[in-house]
């Protein structure tokens, strides 16, 4: 009699070190806990907010809203080619300088009294300025720390960040640089607003336990009798960050045009030299709330922005290299984009319900099984950051 040798084994041992404790549900809806996360994490961590292809030439700029900080940020590629960031706020009386999402120009003119700022946030001209008891140097707009990795633009609202972006990313920095996103020149973007905590939202995208139920139709190619949930083949942990390695189903059920269309995308990917890279199956989870997937077809990033304890905003981008300048390229991209958006649509729908069930407070704990280990890791990292922040902000004598 032939014994069936399973083609998949779950990497249980890689997550065992985190334990199995229940997780306090309050961390997913309590406004006081959210306020601690906001201060301990979001106000002083490197956060991805865009891509250098949005600033293709000197004098281009983008505006980004960070609701958790009530901050509007301008990210500018100056005449010298350098990328800088500063608050979208006039130093005269605080008026927002621009309303547009992006633009071109090396000066920012405040519409109120016409103070005029340069591409580095310096005040260059102001009408009747000698009536102020100020010098122009006093009137520079507060800067925001900004840096890039793999083409992705990160900002840090800490006036004096404790780490550089490279230090923060650790060995992820070089690995991200190998991804197609580092060479991307354009992208599709789709966004959602959701009545859910940022961790509930984010966690959905770092466990596959839901795959079979939520993506029963769209995710059929990832299901196999030996791996019914499409669990990953491995997990790794890098300080606050983590990865999973996506399992490749050797016997996927593929529909006729699906197979044909992905064949076209694979051919284009081969021509661009983006297929077969070392991170092809790596799904990067960058603390606190960024994902970037290594797969070269449907190569997406996903950022979850917290707004309140129970409200978030998500931004997906599917990155492309070069213009879609032929019919086949355009067609393959449109198919890939529509498919991954379909799957993400299903996710967002279920997350809404996950949050609603917690709000009464009746559920005291939530539970993560071994294959939800990345969710547990995020929770543990968040707790560690909040603890560190509490210790810093308490007078030495009161510390536990």
């Amino acid at each position: 009699m032939n014994e069936h040798t399973p083609i998949y084994t779950a990497p249980e041992e890689q997550v065992a070190w985190m334990g199995t404790d229940p997780i306090p549900a309050k961390a997913y809806y309590d406004p006081e806990w959210f306020e601690l996360e906001r201060r301990a994490i979001f106000m002083r961590t490197w956060l991805e907010v865009g891509h250098v292809c949005e600033l293709p030439e000197p004098g281009t700029w983008i505006r980004r809203e960070l609701e958790f900080a009530q901050a509007s940020i301008l990210i500018v590629r100056g005449k010298d080619g350098q990328i800088r960031a500063f608050y979208n706020a006039c130093t005269h009386r605080g008026t927002q300088l621009v309303e547009e999402e992006s633009g071109k120009g090396t000066n920012f003119l405040c519409p109120y009294h016409f103070w005029n700022f340069g591409d580095d946030g310096r005040l260059v001209a102001a009408p009747d300025f000698n009536r102020f008891a100020l010098t122009k140097e006093d009137c520079k707009i507060p800067k925001v720390s900004v840096d890039t990795c793999a083409g992705l633009i990160f900002v840090n609202l800490d006036p004096a960040p404790k780490q550089t972006l490279r230090e923060f990313l650790g060995d992820f920095a070089d690995r991200l640089e190998t991804l197609p996103v580092a060479r991307a020149t354009t992208f599709h973007e789709y966004c959602y607003d959701i009545d859910a905590n940022w961790k509930i939202t984010y966690d959905n995208f770092q466990e596959n336990y839901h795959l079979r139920h939520v993506h029963g139709r769209t995710g059929i190619a990832t299901v196999h009798a030996d791996n019914l949930y499409g669990y990953p083949t491995g997990y790794t942990f890098h300080g606050k960050h983590r990865t999973q390695t996506i399992w490749s189903n050797p016997e996927p059920q593929i529909k006729p045009m699906q197979g044909y269309n992905f064949g076209l995308a694979a051919k284009i990917g081969m021509e661009q030299g983006i297929i077969g890279g070392p991170e092809d199956r790596t799904y990067f989870a960058v603390f606190p709330s960024l994902f970037i997937i290594g797969t070269p077809i449907q190569h997406f990033s996903h950022k979850v922005y917290p707004i309140s304890a129970t409200r978030s905003r998500g931004v997906f981008r599917v990155y492309w290299i070069g213009e879609g300048d032929t019919a086949t390229k355009r067609y393959a991209r449109e198919y890939a984009l529509a498919g991954i958006r379909d799957i993400h649509t299903e996710d967002v729908n279920i997350i809404n319900r996950a949050q609603k069930g917690l709000l009464s407070g009746a559920i005291k704990n939530v539970h993560f099984m071994s294959m939800e280990g990345l969710c547990r890791h995020l929770y543990q990292q968040v707790v560690a950051e909040v603890e560190a922040y509490r210790n810093e902000s308490q007078p030495a004598g009161e510390r536990a």
């Binding site: 966004c191 139709r217 006729p256 379909d342 649509t345």
Partner: protein, 111 residues
């Protein structure tokens, strides 16, 4: 109504008015607003013509396509959306369409 496409695609003419629209978000909207019968008919007839149509359109850069070719391309791009509905979502498409509108397409690199 007739003769809106390059020669050889007469069987696709009935689909032009509804499906040949520009922009990813508009094409997604057509998918969401369509009936199963509309999608199934389009899928059944278009799927075998895709390789030939792409090969023909690839002969020129997109910027140089004439109006009929451009219409054929728009039709093919809408067809990618329809493919997801017909092959993957099947009878779950109507429910899915309701959620899908919450996932706003905010940037499309090319029309």
């Amino acid at each position: 109504m007739s003769n809106q496409l390059p020669d050889g695609y007469a069987v696709l003419e009935p689909f032009v008015d509804y499906w040949a629209v520009s922009g990813t978000a508009n094409r997604d909207q057509r998918r969401s607003d369509s009936t199963p019968a509309q999608r199934n008919a389009f899928y059944a007839i278009a799927k075998d013509l895709v390789p030939q149509a792409l090969a023909q359109l690839d002969a020129k850069p997109i910027a140089e396509l004439d109006d009929k070719e451009r219409r054929l391309l728009d039709l093919l791009l809408s067809f990618t959306h329809v493919t997801h509905a017909v092959e993957m979502l099947t009878d779950g498409e109507a429910r899915h369409a309701k959620f899908r509108k919450e996932m706003r397409i905010t940037r499309q690199p090319a029309e």
